[in-house]
């Protein structure tokens, strides 16, 4: 039979050390993300230093930071425009600080998903919560890249249809409603459809058949952490 030509590797079971790493990474990410909102401003440079180490580790593990950086730049732009419109030029510094805290809150989550497989997260979560909840969380993590791509393509489609949502046009706050109306709304519709289809796909593979599930242990990946 004609087949696609890929190499076939043997998967070896994940070690319990990797599961410990996954558990520690989840707790650390949770603490650091929470700290980004709660620690006084004076400690933020320390937090930024720790996050910088996580970014370095994530990049070494082939994590792609591009999407997050683009989001933060967009967030910074919107926040600046809003602060300028509402407070004038006096409180721009506070706006920058708010965006910095958002960035510091997101970076540990990015690091976690870059260095720990979703299956390992799922296995750990199912030890502390019902399997169905753990599945929903892991499915949401897995759907994130797909939804980001959907958002990009819907944006592009509407831009080509003449929607006033080019980066230049979005400098004008009056066009922000157009972005919500013709990008976020269809994205939400897609998300709802996708949630329904995902549920059907999971049931088609006997999800919910047994009260206790077992877990696939992914092979040792190149970076050694997955």
């Amino acid at each position: 039979m004609p087949v696609s030509h890929f190499s076939r590797s043997q998967a070896t079971p994940i070690s319990s050390r990797s599961l410990w790493f996954a558990g520690t990474a989840m707790v650390l990410a949770l603490l650091l993300s929470s700290a980004a909102f709660f620690v006084p401003q004076v400690y933020l440079p320390w937090l930024a230093g720790i996050d910088a180490l996580l970014v370095l580790h994530g990049v070494i593990n082939k994590g792609n930071l591009g999407g997050l950086l683009r989001y933060i730049l967009l967030q910074l732009l919107f926040t600046m425009v809003l602060y300028l419109a509402i407070h004038g030029g006096n409180q721009v510094g506070q706006g920058v600080m708010a965006v910095a805290r958002i960035l510091l809150a997101l970076l540990p989550g990015w690091w976690l998903t870059s260095t720990v497989s979703a299956e390992a997260i799922g296995e750990l979560l199912s030890k502390v919560m019902p399997s169905k909840w753990a599945f929903v969380i892991v499915a949401s993590i897995n759907l994130l890249p797909f939804m980001v791509n959907e958002a990009r393509e819907i944006y592009q489609l509407q831009l080509l249809r003449g929607a006033r949502i080019s980066p230049k046009q979005l400098l004008n706050p009056r066009n922000w409603s157009e972005l919500c109306y013709c990008v976020l709304f269809p994205l939400l519709v897609q998300l709802l459809k996708l949630a329904q289809q995902t549920a059907t796909a999971a049931r088609a593979r006997h999800f919910g058949h047994k009260s206790r599930r077992t877990h696939w242990r992914p092979g040792q990946s190149e970076n050694g952490n997955k």
């Binding site: 039979m1 004609p2 087949v3 696609s4 030509h5 890929f6 076939r8 590797s9 998967a11 079971p13 497989s117 979703a118 299956e119 499915a139 897995n142 890249p145 797909f146 959907e150 393509e153 819907i154 592009q156 489609l157 509407q158 831009l159 080509l160 249809r161 003449g162 929607a163 006033r164 080019s166 109306y181 013709c182 709304f185 269809p186 519709v189 897609q190 459809k193 996708l194 289809q197 995902t198 059907t200 796909a201 999971a202 049931r203 088609a204 593979r205 006997h206 999800f207 919910g208 058949h209 047994k210 206790r212 599930r213 077992t214 877990h215 696939w216 992914p218 092979g219 990946s221 997955k226």
Partner: protein, 448 residues
């Protein structure tokens, strides 16, 4: 051996809604292969869900299922069924749910992948697979727990010709092993020689035979203008940091009024090239492509360019069909009456005030295309526009494309299999890493 039997099933999507099934009977024996045909929106996918026991809404009638029967359903779009990030984890998902011991999973997963001819690493990211490979991955994800019944929803639309040939060989093996297979399909002739029973689903009932509709409106052959809309030098199509996806050694040129087809297997780079022409494909090296004499840039062409991506229903957002079609007319400051006139020509005027989200899949597809056609772009890029549509919808598609070309629009249509009997002026084929051009006879003369 009788596996499943439906006896006088009635089903609709709520009171007051039209019946999807009306007194429907069906019997499935082990080792048999059935193909269900029918118009777009007739309920083929719903029937597969009913057979699989996945229909969440109540229905009337009797359903017999052999005790302990395992069914596997591969839905139409593999993309929305992916639950994991790597091949091994995806296939093992069903085994996890059946609570199999972890150490038993790896050999079972490898066997399922071999069974569908997908020889990839278990750690291979699913995002690296082509659409056809993803479809086979979904089959492996069902076959891994040795189902007695396998249900496949419109595989022809998702696979290229080579993929269909491979699928037929896989199904042959499954049927020989005693597995019952049910395929819902718009193009049943592709599975001739494999299928034991053809059924047509129409008016809520299954009857023996193949559903046929007459394709009445052909695409017209038209002469092309002299004005060049798209031109390129020779180029390598390559994503940054990757080896070339394909090379094009001869310059490409598309003139006013031309109909060009872009043919290639799943994953060949058709959609990426279409996006590059529209200026929305990022992450590629600089390409010597000029559209309207300029380097493509997102949104720079306004009403001169239209792009219909795959799954175009994603772009629908307005409250009514008329508003949806009028949206671009408003933004490009064109006459709004075009929208109502187009709806009338398409026979969709009855839906003008309805929400586009309540239409059938085929109708939504047409509305998405109509929302581009109404502003009469000079270049229309259609990425696999016929996927999942039957002859009735193809007629309306031809109606719109003919109308545009009469007004000088150049149309480029991509597909994963050759579109036979279309009066194309050029065909661009992507195969074995090369994009080659073949001209229609009169065009070959013109080009020489």
């Amino acid at each position: 051996m009788r596996l499943i039997e439906l006896d006088g099933v009635n089903f609709n999507y709520g009171s007051g809604q039209p019946w999807i099934f009306r007194d429907l009977d069906f019997r499935l024996e082990s080792g048999s292969c059935h193909c269900i045909t029918g118009p777009t929106g007739s309920g083929k996918s719903t029937l597969l869900q009913l057979i699989a026991g996945l229909l969440s809404r109540p229905f009337e009638g009797g359903v017999f299922r052999r005790q302990g029967l395992l069914t596997g359903l591969v839905m139409q779009d593999p993309q929305v069924q992916l639950l994991r990030q790597t091949v091994g984890a995806e296939v093992a998902f069903a085994l996890e749910n059946l609570a199999l011991a972890t150490e038993q999973m790896i050999p079972m997963v490898q066997r399922a992948l071999r069974r569908v001819g997908l020889f990839v690493s278990l750690d291979c990211p699913i995002s690296n697979l082509s659409l056809g490979q993803k479809y086979r991955l979904m089959m492996a994800a069902q076959l891994v727990c040795n189902p007695t019944v396998l249900l496949l929803d419109e595989p022809w639309a998702q696979l290229d010709d080579r993929g269909v040939e491979e699928l037929i060989m896989v199904i042959r093996g499954l049927v020989a092993d005693g597995i019952a297979v049910v395929i819902s399909e718009h193009n049943p002739r592709s599975f001739d020689g494999l299928v034991d029973h053809f059924w047509q689903l129409a008016d809520g009932q299954l009857k023996p035979g193949i559903y046929r509709t007459q394709h009445a409106i052909p695409l017209k052959a038209m002469s092309c203008g002299d004005e060049v809309i798209v031109d390129t030098d020779s180029f390598d199509y390559r994503f940054v940091g990757d080896s070339p996806l394909f090379s094009c050694e001869q310059p490409l040129q598309v003139r006013r009024g031309e109909l060009v087809t872009l043919i290639g297997d799943n994953g060949a780079g058709k959609s990426s090239l279409m996006k590059s022409l529209a200026g929305i494909q990022s992450n590629t090296v600089a390409l010597p492509i000029r559209v309207f004499g300029e380097r493509p840039k997102a949104g720079a062409y306004g009403a001169r360019l239209g792009l219909l991506m795959q799954r175009p229903v994603r772009q629908l957002f307005e409250n009514s069909v008329l508003d949806e079609i009028s949206f671009s007319l408003k933004r490009f400051e064109l006459p709004l009456e075009n929208a109502a006139a187009l709806l009338q020509d398409l026979g969709l005027e009855a839906f003008a005030k309805q929400s586009p989200h309540k239409l059938s899949y085929g109708q939504q597809h047409l509305v998405a295309l109509a929302s581009l056609v109404c502003y009469q772009p000079q270049l229309l890029l259609l990425d696999d526009p016929m996927a999942g549509l039957d002859a009735e919808y193809f007629d309306r598609f031809c109606l719109m494309v003919n109308r545009l070309r009469e007004r000088g629009t150049a149309v480029i249509v991509s597909s994963h299999r050759p579109l036979r009997q279309l009066p194309v002026s050029q065909q661009w084929d992507i195969a074995d890493g090369m994009l080659t051009v073949s001209y229609a006879l009169e065009e070959a003369y013109y080009a020489s």
